[in-house]
Subunit: 113 residues, 4 copies
């Protein structure tokens, strides 16, 4: 695979991982008690997948606090999530990122430079 | 099965259906364009399941409008959902309902009388 | 709430939890590496929810081994899952169980006696 | 955006859509009765998302028939799914495809030429 093909494939794979982790985990019951465990589980699910060399997930505790129901937990939603995944194809590494964008009201996924 | 067993089983089955439909569909891309289709798909998924004799789903269009991203859609969330499912076991029918409760900040599931 | 109402509500709540956990977690990337973590995360998600006093999840490692892809993981599916959840409403406790039934080809959910 | 950036972004976006649709819909109750409706709903969810210009989903009816439970439906799984999504960024179009690969036992996602 030549350079540009590798880059394209790496970008494609990074996209797959972000789309997957978002739609698999949104809706999950989350509280201050298990937020750390869910972060680690999300990271492990990312790392199982082909080409992934690193993953990081953070659930925003301020947003979590705001959204807690009277039962002291809520459903995981896009506005609490920060995800970064590093994908390597051949010699090419790309980093994909999911970050809530308040202006767009959207869990924006982007390639980092 | 005697009366009380039937009631218990019907209540159990109604619970299964509401828990299932919520966690399967939350996160789904939804807009004014496909909200009706998603409602009908949710109803069809409910009706496939054992003991279900009726189902009704409504996505709150006012909430939907409020939550639309700049890309003109959003992720389906509990605060937009109203679901009613009727379950029959033997001669017993029970109706389960999912309705957002603003005070509890929670998608409350209850048995109707 | 009198006795029968409690039983009915407990059965309903047990159903909700099993339907929820199944449809939230099915599809999750799972391998021998993170199966234990996913089990614990599923249990924590069950325990966050109202009325739950105990939860247990097991992912069948033999089924997991059979289903592993060439990439050494697979998607969590109903035929690997065993779940037990204990729900208490007032003085009433009920136990709900999800267990794959090979004859029915179905992740059967039932109330234990 | 210059050519290569567009290609990379288009590949990334195609990946997002395939990862998303897979993990959102896997687990959904499906039968011969609602398979067509689910296909159309999946296509509509794909088309709502930024940069998507076309989408096609097919649920393999032979696999579906094999997997039907005694209750005449099953949970949607990766081995039944074929998805094609066309993404356009600027002047660049790429096509992403999800297709079950029996040898890998894996729902392989790839960029078409």
């Amino acid at each position: 695979m030549v350079g540009e093909e590798e880059v394209r494939k790496a970008a494609f794979e990074a996209g797959i991982k972000l789309g997957a982790v978002f739609h698999q985990f949104v809706g999950m019951p989350v509280s201050f008690e298990n937020a750390k465990m869910i972060e680690r589980t999300m990271e492990s699910c990312l790392r199982l997948q082909p080409y992934v060399v690193n993953s990081y997930v953070n659930i925003d505790r301020v947003k979590l606090a705001e959204k807690l129901s009277k039962f002291n937990y809520t459903s995981l939603s896009g506005d609490m999530l920060f995800v970064r995944v590093t994908v390597r194809v051949g010699d090419t590494e790309v980093v994909g990122r999911l970050k809530w964008n308040e202006e767009l009201k959207y869990p924006l996924m982007e390639l980092e430079d």
